[in-house]
């Protein structure tokens, strides 16, 4: 577990100046802010012009055009909004299976928090496991996530219980290590005109385990025990299944426009982001 969340936040604040959530691209809705919105607004960015219709704000009439042709023409400017960002963190026990993976999970979470805040987004944070609850931003900043109440479930994070806001950027941080179908997660991410980002941390013990011989396995989610012998052939088949598992996730994400990136736990954080997240559009490098 992370002992000093304050220091972690400071580190991620620096990282957020080198990389950020992809809020600069696309069009967002929300209250006034600094990010281009979907409609016209009162920013300084000229967008278009059209004939005046009653009810238009007379302050935006193009008087120079009226002087030339005697007809009222309206100048239209780009709307600037403050986008909504819903950060969903999978807090099932498998996310904290090893110290490296635990650190990487919190680094991703606080990177998303700091990046959203620096971009002036409206941020809401949800901790999801067997249940789902919103973590107030103040508690997030203090590192109080209330994890004692969270337990694992084979169905994965219960996004259907999470109140995601319409049109929000939905960032899900989860290792995706559960047997449920990907659509149980991907569809809620893009519902109600939402845009999804899926960051999947993983560690070497999962990707390249050194299993061989008799091993007494304990499932991190259910605490179920399974004593078995793992010969080299079984280990090889496991590695193939592991790769195929994430290929099954990659395909629906691609189809539904969700930026999907796996983030390794062992390298430096910024290097881990550059490896896959930057290429998939899950983050933007400045």
């Amino acid at each position: 577990m992370i002992e000093d969340f304050s220091a972690l936040r400071q580190q991620m604040r620096v990282v957020a100046e080198m990389a950020r959530l992809p809020l600069r691209s696309g069009f967002w809705s929300g209250i006034n802010g600094s990010i281009n919105g979907q409609g016209t607004g009162s920013s300084l960015d000229f967008q278009d012009q059209r004939p005046y219709v009653p009810g238009d704000d007379p302050r935006h009439i193009n008087w120079q055009a009226y002087a030339r042709n005697g007809s009222y023409t309206m100048k239209l400017y780009r709307q600037e909004v403050s986008p909504r960002v819903d950060l969903v963190v999978d807090v099932s026990p498998s996310m904290f299976i090893s110290p490296a993976k635990t650190k990487r999970v919190w680094e991703l979470a606080y990177f998303a928090v700091e990046s959203a805040l620096q971009l002036g987004a409206s941020l809401k944070v949800h901790a999801v496991g067997k249940a789902s609850h919103e973590v107030p931003l103040a508690q997030v900043m203090g590192g109080k996530w209330g994890l004692e109440e969270q337990t694992g479930t084979p169905e994965g994070p219960r996004l259907e219980l999470t109140p995601l806001r319409p049109g929000a950027l939905r960032v899900l941080i989860s290792d995706l290590l559960y047997p449920a179908a990907p659509e149980r997660v991907t569809l809620p991410l893009i519902s109600q005109r939402g845009r999804g980002i899926l960051l999947a941390p993983f560690c070497k013990d999962e990707a390249e385990p050194d299993w061989q011989g008799n091993i007494d396995f304990e499932d991190a989610e259910t605490l179920r025990r399974d004593r078995r012998r793992v010969p080299e052939a079984t280990r090889e088949r496991y590695l193939q299944a592991y790769r195929r598992h994430f290929d099954l996730w990659r395909e629906p994400c691609l189809r539904q426009g969700i930026a999907f990136a796996r983030v390794a736990s062992e390298p430096e954080f910024i290097k881990a982001l550059r490896a896959e997240a930057a290429a998939s559009g899950a983050v933007e490098m400045t």
Binding site: V230, T234, Y242
Partner: protein, 575 residues
């Protein structure tokens, strides 16, 4: 360069290697893992198959480091030493020539191969000598090849009775000069040896049944024989025995049951036309006494001339009359009986002239010299007068003393024609003495007559014990002994192995004989045992001819490195 271990018991530390391997296998069985992807594993291998009780070993750095450390520790503790480049040693093996060793030929070869194999590693060069305790036997091997020494054991024929080892020890000491080697006495029982000699006893208690004696007597032309069969073992034994005669078919066998240490007498007779036969027993571990050949003895007669006329002559006549193979005649006598001072040209027995009537018996003790004629006889009861004072000359051999006067002596002299003769002087009046009734006196006379009989010319036929001395007339012509159709120079003794033989001179036979093994001390194998004192001396030899491993400090450092490395690797994996 051969390596020696000054502390070979430390090699038991190598048992740590399999222990380490077993511990690693058991560790594999108890490995426990908390995982997040069990559902993937169950998908590829739905059946949860428990492993073997001992898991196949997985190689790991700690395992190899621990194995290497155990190996190095065993190496260091065993105190390895390397032979010096110029080290040499001499090993003298003295084989017991006693007949009892023939029951342990295989054990001797095995023990020597093992013991000498160890000794061969002590030095770069070893000089081997293989001798026998019988100093008359030639050296069996001298050289630098151990395998040739072991091969030369085939020529070793232990057939002798009890004998002294001192001469062979002296030879061994002269070969191993300066103490740089080993003198190894190989025998079949524990015995005391000098401090500079190691003992290798290869025997064990074994049962043996064999012939232990023969007496023959010719009556009415029939040879009556009688033999003893003895069970030298500690258990009841059964044997078949039979008599083989020339030109006869399969002999009938008789069964003989013998209690432990029991001796049974067998008797029989041979008809006049049979001159020789062989008694046999079922073969056992000691075959020398399982065969007893015998011949019909034909002894030569000793002709004795007597000068009658005195009471002592009559007494002497009666005594000599009891000796077999004697005839009184004046025709070409071999021995003459005469009063002291008589003129004699042959071997003789002189007796003193009659003593005065008032002569008293002398109360002095009779003391016997250690001589073949008087040995092992009791002379304490001999009563005589005071002996006549006779002066001994240079070639006289005193036999009996009475006080400070010589009572009996043997004189070797020559006749006028330079013929050597032997004369027995009895320096007291036999008629006034109890000598005719004293057994020792009769035995001495018989020994003297038999000694003369041995030197008589002409053929004889007799039974001998193996290795027994055969006295023959002195001659400057070579004598041969023929046995099993093989002729060799005659060494004055009967053969060492039981069988028939013939001694001849220039083709003329002198002796037809049969010899049998009769040394019951050698046939008794109950006291045989094993012992080996050479190993304690080997350590001294190793220390002398080798030097300590110069890399020991490096091995110690490597052990520490291995242990630290294994500990570090284990700690890391636990984290």
């Amino acid at each position: 360069m051969p390596v020696h271990f000054a502390n070979p018991i430390a090699l038991w530390a190598l048992l740590a290697l399999p222990v380490i391997l077993i511990i690693h296998c058991l560790q594999e069985r108890s490995r426990r893992l908390r995982v997040s992807t069990l559902f993937l594993l169950e998908r590829v291998a739905p059946e949860s198959v428990s492993g073997a009780r001992f898991e196949r070993l997985r190689t790991s750095l700690p395992l190899w480091l621990q194995l290497l450390a155990a190996l190095l520790i065993a190496w260091i503790l065993s105190d390895p030493r390397w032979a010096k480049k110029d080290s040499t040693q001499t090993v003298v093996v003295i084989l017991d020539s006693s007949a009892s060793m023939s029951a342990f030929r295989d054990e001797t070869r095995t023990a020597l191969s093992r013991t000498l194999g160890h000794w061969s590693q002590n030095a770069v060069k070893t000089r081997w000598h293989l001798l026998e305790t019988d100093s008359h036997k030639p050296t069996l091997y001298a050289g630098t090849h151990l395998d040739e020494l072991l091969a030369s054991l085939d020529r070793w024929q232990p057939l002798k009775g009890s004998h002294s080892n001192d001469q062979s020890y002296m030879v061994g000491r002269s070969l191993v000069k300066g103490g740089g080697g080993l003198i190894l006495q190989v025998t079949d029982h524990k015995m005391e040896v000098p401090s500079d000699i190691a003992l290798l006893a290869v025997g064990e208690a074994k049962d043996n049944v064999g012939f232990s004696g023969l007496t023959t007597k010719v009556e009415d032309g029939r040879l009556k024989w009688r033999v003893l069969v003895t069970n030298h073992g500690a258990a009841v034994q059964s044997r078949n025995w039979w008599l083989e005669r020339k030109q006869e078919g399969q002999p009938a066998k008789s069964k003989l049951d013998l209690q432990p240490l029991q001796s049974v007498s067998l008797e029989g007779e041979l008809p006049p036309e049979i001159s020789q036969a062989t008694l046999k027993l079922d073969a056992d571990v000691f075959p020398l006494d399982d065969t007893l050949p015998m011949v019909r003895p034909v002894e030569r007669t000793v002709r004795i001339d007597e000068r009658k006329g005195s009471p002592s002559a009559e007494r002497l006549h009666k005594m000599i009359e009891a000796v077999p193979g004697v005839v009184f005649t004046a025709d070409h006598p071999d021995i003459t009986l005469s009063e002291v001072g008589g003129e004699v040209t042959t071997d003789a027995i002189f007796y003193d002239s009659p003593a005065p009537e008032d002569a008293k018996l002398d109360a002095s003790f009779v003391v016997a010299e250690n001589h073949a004629l008087t040995r092992d006889l009791n002379w304490m009861g001999l009563l005589t007068q005071k002996p006549t004072q006779l002066a001994l000359v240079e070639k006289d051999t005193p036999l009996l003393w009475k006080g400070d006067a010589v009572l009996a002596f043997l004189r070797r002299t020559t006749t006028a024609d330079a013929k050597p003769v032997q004369q027995l002087f009895l320096n007291w009046d036999l008629s006034r003495s109890n000598a005719p009734r004293l057994p020792a006196m009769l035995v001495m006379l018989q020994r003297h007559i038999d000694a003369r009989r041995q030197t008589l010319e002409g053929e004889r036929t007799a039974n001998y014990e193996t290795g027994e001395r055969i006295a023959l007339p002195a001659t400057d012509k070579p004598l041969q002994i023929t046995r099993n159709s093989k002729t060799e120079p005659f060494n004055g003794h009967a053969p060492d192995e039981a069988g028939f033989f013939e001694v001849s001179r220039e083709g003329a036979p002198l002796v037809h004989g049969a010899c049998y093994f009769a040394d019951v001390r050698e046939a008794d194998l109950r006291e045989c045992s094993s012992a080996d004192t050479s190993e304690s001396r080997r350590l001294e030899a190793v220390l002398r001819d080798t030097e300590a491993d110069p890399l020991t400090p490096l091995w110690v450092l490597m052990v520490l490195g291995c242990l630290l490395g294994a500990w570090g690797a284990n700690t890391k994996s636990e984290k």
